[in-house]
Amino acid sequence: MDRNAHAPLRQRLLSWFILFLGGLYFFVPLIATIDFSLRARKGVLSALAYQRVLSDPRFASAFTFSLEMALLTVVVGVILVVPTAYWIRLRLPQLRPVVEFITLMPFVVPAIVLVFGLIRVFSRPPFLLTNSFTGTQILLVAGYVVLVLPYLYRAVDTGLQAIDIRTLTEAAQSLGAGWWVIITQIIFPNLRSAILSGAFLTITIVMGELTMASFLVGLKAFGPYMSQVGQNRAYEGAALAVISFALTWAFTMLFQFVGRRALGGDQAFGAR
């Protein structure tokens, strides 16, 4: 702050200019998309494309389907990641680099490879899952859990770093608590904001995911649906992009709000 105040005028102008460029980069395509989505009727601005999108029953069903998959992914991912990250920090710190590397695999192995692998393994006995819709949904959630690992694991691990889990664990143990009580009553509640931010990233990623969804469930999911609409109907595609963007933002707000409430107000982020 001090440095900014004393910085020469030219330097400050430069900072603002760079910020302005960044803003342009972010907002111009967004404004262009919004503008385009409003031009479905020739010569006038109208919400026609939006009406069409929203009146298509496939929109609602694809959206709810993907939202359900996203929430399931969050639940499974959190149940998998939180105890793992906790245990590694507590008892197996030497394994941390290994686990971090594993969680980064989705950045190295493309989703298409992962989904082919899943289909190959689970399309024949003894693990036949691809022959039923429930089976493919299970595969989809499993794939998503892997896909979001880098984000979820990192969020949770950072959250664990912020609290002294070793001493808290020992304090709980000395008071008679077993592992179940420690994880559910001490670790989870104190990781709430970390889990929320990981969950938010998970939902955003799953809602827009195209590759895995296309191969496993096709147009039932929001990603493939959006892609198809975008290919066939330009204005509706743009309207859909804007809607999904708005929904994503709404989710961010919702999570921030819920997260803050759950932590007992703004003060929780203050001292200590």
Binding site: L168, A171, G176, A177, N190
Partner: protein, 352 residues
């Protein structure tokens, strides 16, 4: 048999032996401190009693049963940590109630115990605060109440005051002793602060490099240290090299001075030994029946209740602690002075 018995405890971390052959008997209701520099094994020993570390060898017997390998959550031993370790997501009342809820005590009993505990630590009215809304001293009192609420068989305290300000530290020290005596609870207190250990404990266990150096009352370990380490670690110590002149009469020579000490029947004439004595036994001026040595004042430190004078005693630096009085004429650096001390104040440390 003692209430808590630690038998031949050892703990090895890789190549280092953190605790070696530790033996101690603690009586019910006793307050015992483990005192020593960092790395002496005091915390490791405490953590073995708590169950957070498994001994490499040895046994821990509590109230007649062997708890050496019992998991920490089944030992019923309370613990207070240096970092307080309050659960950040729980209020003061919920923190105190935690152990009781885990034990599935009836709600009415929990409510009653929590209010008793708040009363005991004088924080009634704070039940709905969160840890981050409390000062360090208050947090540590809550941590103490939380550990006591489960009526533990033993209370372990791991440097509980180290993170606090000097004034709060002294206050809380007295509070801990008061509460321990009120409840008659058996307590083991780990500290590197000798003042804490001496003022709180029934007995002090002085540790160094994983070994017990001496066990005794604060009076004993301070006034009758058994090893050179204990003598130098607890309190200040003046060491004066002397030659034995007459062992039967207790006469030794320091430079040109013949000093009278207690008889030294086990030593022989001409032997070089070290004379040890506490700064508070040394005084300025001449007093009938005492030893006298000339010296030069190097500096004077005013510490409030006492005035610490550093004196060059014919090439040997010693400290003399004088009680402060309003009429005291403070010596000045460079002053020539005579140091006196009584014969019975000294003891002999054999040169290696």
């Amino acid at each position: 048999m003692a209430y808590l018995s630690l038998q031949n405890l050892s703990k090895r971390f890789g190549p280092t032996l953190a605790v070696r052959d530790f033996n101690l008997e603690v009586e019910r209701g006793e307050f015992v401190s483990f005192l020593g520099p960092s790395g002496c094994g005091k915390t490791t020993t405490l953590r073995m009693i708590a169950g957070f570390e498994l001994p490499t060898s040895g046994r821990i017997i509590l109230d007649g049963s062997d708890i050496t390998t019992l998991p920490p959550n089944r030992r019923h031993i309370g613990m207070v940590f240096q970092s307080y370790a309050l659960f950040p997501n729980l209020t003061v009342a919920d923190n105190i109630a935690f152990g009781l809820k885990v034990a599935k005590r009836p709600p009415e009993e929990i409510r009653k115990t929590v209010s008793e505990m708040l009363d005991l630590i004088r924080l009634t009215g704070f039940e709905n605060r969160y840890p981050y809304q409390l000062s360090g001293g208050q947090q540590q009192r809550v941590a103490l109440a939380r550990a006591l609420a489960i009526r533990p068989r033993v209370l372990l305290l791991d440097e509980p005051l180290s993170a606090l300000d000097a004034k709060i530290r002294v206050e809380l020290r007295a509070e801990i002793r008061r509460i321990q005596q009120t409840l008659g609870i058996t307590a083991i207190y780990v500290t590197h602060d000798q003042e804490e250990a001496l003022s709180l404990s029934d007995r002090v266990v002085v540790m160094y490099e994983g070994r017990i150096e001496q066990v005794g009352t604060p009076f004993e370990v301070y006034n009758y240290p058994k090893t050179r380490f204990v003598a130098s670690f607890i309190g200040q110590l003046n060491l004066i090299p002397v030659i034995v002149e007459d062992p039967q009469q207790g006469k030794v020579r320091f430079d040109n001075n013949v000093l009278q000490v207690e008889p030294l029947p086990h030593l022989s004439r001409g032997q070089a030994v070290t004379l040890a004595l506490r700064p508070e036994e040394m005084n300025l001026g001449e007093v009938e029946g005492r030893n006298h040595v000339r010296g030069r004042v190097l500096d004077v430190m005013f510490l409030g209740a006492i005035v610490r004078v550093r004196v060059d005693l014919q090439g040997r630096e010693v400290l003399a602690d004088l009680f402060n009085e309003r009429q005291l004429a403070l010596p000045r650096p460079g002053d020539q002075v005579i140091i006196n001390f009584p014969p019975h104040a000294c003891w002999i440390i054999n040169e290696a």
